[in-house]
């Protein structure tokens, strides 16, 4: 489950629009609560990270270097937060995880996806969705959005 406030969703929107027609990517920072057997991830901040895939592949691919991952985790720690997931955009594609997303994902994290598109000649953001990888890696489950 994810608690993704509107203010954070808007920042993910903005990052997606900025990177269009390429994919943006970054870390979700926040805290984790146990709710029964499930985890509830509260997102309170994002950290935009460079998409380091080669330029001609960025329209449908992103990669975050281990160095940037470490920087994000250490930044979170200094803020008293945890790295609770990642976001990226799908330019000209639906806000649904691809098989490629699933093959590269980790469990126990939230994967937020924003669709981006051209609207009236300008880059714009569409749906924002969130997903969690099943523990056996077989599928991505849509995450329940919890409003608190």
């Amino acid at each position: 489950m994810i608690d993704l406030p509107l203010s954070i969703a808007k920042r993910v929107h903005a990052e997606g629009v900025l990177a269009f027609p390429n994919e943006c990517c970054g870390a979700l920072l926040g805290s984790v609560d146990a709710v029964g057997t499930q985890e509830l991830r509260h997102v309170v901040d994002i950290l935009a990270l460079p998409n380091t895939r080669e330029a001609e592949e960025q329209y449908h691919r992103f990669v975050i270097t281990p160095e940037d991952y470490l920087r994000a985790e250490q930044f979170a720690r200094t803020e008293g937060l945890d790295l609770v997931g990642f976001y990226h955009s799908h330019p000209n594609a639906p806000a649904r995880p691809s098989d490629y997303d699933r093959e590269h994902a980790w469990p126990n994290l939230s994967y937020v996806i924003v669709a981006t598109l051209l609207r009236d000649g300008k880059a714009a953001a569409g749906d924002v969705t969130s997903w969690e990888l099943s523990l056996d890696r077989s599928r991505f489950d849509a995450e329940e959005q919890v409003a608190l």
Binding site: P21, Y59, H60, R61, P66, L70, L83, A93, L109, Y111
Partner: protein, 97 residues
């Protein structure tokens, strides 16, 4: 004892611990000790031959051990060892629009 930092993605396998103190001479020994302590963690970081999985990096401080001596890299008691998962993805779009 060196401190090993566990990424959020793998804490489900370390009783929610975000850091674990390990005594070892090398990174390889530290990872093996960690895997012995938390057997469910092992398949996520090591392959069948005990080598580091391709999707996992280990850092000492800010240095990736792939750039030093790999699992044979020495660990000092004051070192911070971080397990870092590789992060990538993308859409199904087959060609640029």
């Amino acid at each position: 004892m060196a401190t090993v930092f566990i990424p959020t993605a793998l804490r489900a396998f370390t009783d929610r611990q975000s850091q674990v103190e390990i005594t070892s001479d090398t990174v390889g020994e530290a990872i093996s000790a960690l895997a012995a302590l938390y057997p469910d963690l092992a398949p996520h970081i090591l392959d069948d031959e005990g080598a580091l999985r391709g999707f996992v990096n280990v850092f000492i401080g800010q240095t990736n051990i792939r750039e030093t001596q790999g699992l044979d890299t020495p660990v000092a008691t004051t070192d911070e060892v971080s397990i870092v998962p590789a992060i990538a993805g993308g859409s199904d779009l087959a060609r640029r629009v």
